[in-house]
Subunit: 309 residues, 2 copies
């Protein structure tokens, strides 16, 4: 089984109340690939970087079964760079620098060897590029998951975003974005409207408050693990998506019941991500670590009520 993801591979410089980093490797596709690599046998990345990138980072990903041939290297150009500073509550941040660099010319090309990937996870990029990727695929993936953000809900992009949303199976957005996209405050009403736009499934990410999965008239809620310390939330949403997609790929089952499990595994991966800067924690996990963390989720929500009918 294989997972194809299209998204950014970038440099980040992050400042939190706990410390700050120099340029470290970030970008949605990086977090997705590291996270999914614990589940998927093969993760295919399509992205773009400059020749300033540390190519050892790609070698590290290849060691984990990630195919990086779809990462275009632009000679003489610089990689996408983002810098941000988190506030004390870790829920809000200021963007200090956004240097799009190579991202301005990103025109994703799907290598022939990536055709036939079972699951497609479109990371948060311009919906025009997401559509472009969909149009290049010779076989429809078994499942297409799309991540996006509020920036693409503005008038210049909204029409394209709605077009791509109408073509995918699972949409993942946060609660503020769900409200903005639907113009409904109630997440239940928002979900109904968004599901009517095309997707079979909607995942609403609520950060420290967990995640909701909507499908037809069903709803599933997965908590976030209450943590002593959130060290750096950067990439947690992408790590969640990578774990979610990777688990679905590994288990070859895209039923609602299995999506619930995938959300728990994605949440477990995200809970590791925030423990260290960037994707550092995602490089050192064992399968036992992941199973132990999933057990924490089970313990967190498990109760035993026998209903009297």
């Amino acid at each position: 089984m294989s997972l194809l993801t299209v998204g950014t591979v970038a440099f980040d410089a992050i400042e939190t109340p706990f410390g700050k980093t120099d340029k470290i490797v970030g970008g949605a596709a990086t977090y997705i690939a590291w996270s999914a690599s614990y589940f998927s046998k093969k993760v295919n990345i399509v992205s773009v970087i400059g020749d300033d990138f540390d190519m050892n980072e790609l070698a590290e990903l290849r060691k984990r079964g990630v195919d990086t041939t779809g990462i275009e290297v632009k000679e003489g150009k610089k990689s996408f760079f983002w810098s941000g500073k988190y506030h004390l509550d870790m829920n809000t941040r200021d963007t200090l620098i956004t240097d799009l660099n190579v991202l301005l010319e990103f025109n994703p090309q799907i290598p022939a060897a990536y055709q036939g990937s079972d699951i497609l996870l479109l990371g948060n990029i311009d919906p025009n590029l997401q559509l472009n990727v969909l149009n290049q695929l010779t076989t429809k993936p078994k499942l297409t998951i799309l991540d996006t953000m509020n920036f693409w809900m503005t008038p210049s992009y909204k029409e394209k975003l709605l077009e791509v949303i109408s073509k995918i199976d699972v949409l993942t957005i946060n609660d503020a974005e769900a409200r903005e996209l639907s113009n409904e405050y109630s997440l239940v009403k928002a979900a109904k409207k968004i599901l009517s736009m095309g997707p079979e499934y909607l995942v609403i990410k609520k950060g420290e408050h967990g995640a909701l999965l909507f499908h037809e008239n069903n709803v599933f809620f997965a908590p976030a693990l209450p943590l002593e310390e959130v060290f750096d939330p950067t990439g947690a949403g992408d790590t969640f998506a990578g774990g979610f997609a990777g688990y679905l790929d590994k288990t070859r089952d895209i039923s609602f019941e299995n999506m619930k499990r995938a959300i728990i595994y994605g949440s477990a991966m995200a809970s590791f991500c925030v423990e260290k800067f960037g994707a550092e924690r995602l490089r050192e996990l064992t399968h036992n670590d992941i199973e132990d963390r999933v057990k924490d989720f089970i313990d967190l929500v498990q109760f035993d009520i026998v209903l009297q009918d």
Copy 2:
């Protein structure tokens, strides 16, 4: 089994984006009593009202097995009155009027017939009065639950609040209050500090984001039900506490496992409360309604993962 609660019985006037009420019956002890009456055989209230109160309201409570002899009626005085207006998001509100009236002279007296109540639920009032109640009890209840709020965490009251907290078994507060009381942002760290202040159990209410139960090194999370519409959140926290305490009283089991169940039942009762103005919805429930709602909670969080060890 019996439940003793001490708290306000009041008039409220509520305005929400959906409409507004004239003076309707409110107050923590009202919500607690209605909610607990679906579980406890006997609910004993201690409170104070003026002679402007609608005595039929007390008769309604008595029909449900609530003993109202501990509600002192002050002749020629007015009942406590609160008026508030909710913002569009329903999470924030402005207080328009607070007329303490009889509450200024509230000096709770525990009737002899209330001695020996199995569970004591101290509603949110001045910690001096909460201590006064504890001192009047001739037998220690099997479980003492205390609700409070940020107002009592200010310098004038904090010492007394800490004294009463050191004497009770279960503390229920919201997330902002837990952070204020502990001076810790992380709820896990906050819970550790608060448990070291005396209580065996801490319930942190997060409104639409659910509730956490902490005990020793264990934590349990109960979601709030995602609702299409929150019509009026007034009293939801008290309704939660009433259902929680009532369920523990009915089942005669104060273990951690049973507290988890009690939190689910409390959350179910709170989910009804917000569907109509004030305590209206709590007057018309059947046991089937409650069991159906608890089933919704089970469906919401239930997943089935077999760990590979």
